[in-house]
């Protein structure tokens, strides 16, 4: 009986489909633990934070509506991945002329200040969010997280991890060059 013999191929076919799915999962770079971000494509959440450095103006939404794309970076002096990411931010600010707004998250202002004074300050403006209230509005899950806000104030990218060389070259700079 021919149909019966075909039936024996069913387990093999199932295995092939599963193997195909697992192979695709491994090779496509898909991260099953990724939260994703519902903010991408929507107007940036409110920006409202006291200035980290005394005498500087507080951070407001006006900083996101300058007609130029900006990067918003949440960091903390106690966060090791932030330390790893820091040189990349410095380079983006100095070499690529990107405007970066920094927010120290759950970080004592004096500690965040000391950290920036020691490592260098890549931020055009920097504030702090001691209790993480504003950060919740940004859907923050931890630090570092980085948002690209386009000239119209729309969130274009949301990195829920330290940004890497690859992210800068493949995702950030192309969007910035396209005049987002």
């Amino acid at each position: 009986m021919k149909s019966n013999r075909l039936l024996y191929l069913l387990p093999l076919l199932t295995l092939a489909i599963l193997a195909g799915f697992f192979g695709w999962s491994l090779l496509s770079g898909r991260d099953p633990a990724s939260i994703g971000s519902p903010l991408v494509g929507r107007p940036a959440p409110r920006l409202e934070a006291p200035a980290l450095f005394p005498g500087k103006p507080a951070l407001t939404d006006a900083l996101l509506r300058t007609g130029k794309p900006v990067l918003v970076n949440f960091f903390a002096s106690w966060c090791t991945p932030c330390l790893a990411e820091h040189p990349l931010l410095e380079r983006l600010a100095s070499r690529d002329g990107v405007t970066i707004i920094g927010i120290a998250w759950k970080n004592k202002p004096e500690e965040a200040r000391a950290w920036l004074e020691r490592l260098g300050n890549p931020f055009a403006a920097v504030g702090y969010d001691l209790d993480g209230k504003m950060a919740l509005d940004w859907g923050l899950s931890g630090v570092p997280e980085t948002f690209l806000i386009d000239a119209k104030g729309i969130v274009r990218l949301h990195f829920r991890a330290p940004i890497l060389e690859k992210d800068v070259n493949e995702r950030l700079l192309p969007l910035l060059k396209a005049g987002s």
Partner: protein, 174 residues
């Protein structure tokens, strides 16, 4: 009070204490709302919200910083007069469907919701199909004359053997 009654009361007291202790979870005293009804709603909502940095723990269970912040925000929204679903929508707008312990029924989650029942249904259909195709069992063929004689001979020799012990049996060398 009789002895069994007293030990029953004691057991109940221990159980009640244990349940109070386990229901405390990760919520810290300073997070709690003074209004018990609102606090109960906050607890209910935060049990359905997933801590976004701890894979599979509810916000109510987790000690993570973000879970603490979300618990606080839930309570703030409730005090501001939001309904339960408004609070949930507020979190989904910021953290996506990931923040819900129970995934919503959507096109993207169709396989998740319907996959297992579908496989069960397919299995049942397959069983039914093979049962239909199987030919009905045929009754065994009746014994031939030669076999009938052989059975009778065996039964007879068995009857004459009984009680014969190890004595040599009568043989028919034909």
């Amino acid at each position: 009070m009789t002895r069994p009654a007293r030990s029953a009361v004691l057991a109940l007291a221990v159980l009640a204490t244990a349940s109070v202790l386990t229901s405390a979870r990760a919520v810290e005293p300073d997070e709690m709302l003074p209004d018990p009804a609102l606090e109960a709603r906050a607890r209910e909502i935060s049990r359905e919200l997933r801590c976004v940095v701890c894979q599979n723990q509810s916000v109510d269970d987790s000690n993570a910083e973000v879970a603490h912040d979300i618990r606080r925000a839930v309570r703030e929204r409730l005090v501001a007069g939001d309904s339960d679903s408004q609070v949930r929508d507020y979190m989904v707008a910021r953290y996506g469907d990931y923040v819900l312990m129970k995934p919503p029924f959507r096109m993207r989650t169709l396989v998740l919701w319907l996959g297992a029942p579908l496989v069960l249904l397919l299995g049942a259909l397959g069983l039914w199909w093979t049962a239909l195709r199987r030919p009905p069992p045929t009754p065994p063929a009746p014994l031939s004359e030669a076999e009938k004689e052989k059975v009778a001979a065996l039964l007879d020799s068995g009857a004459s053997d009984s009680g014969a012990g190890d004595a040599p049996r009568p043989r028919d060398d034909g």
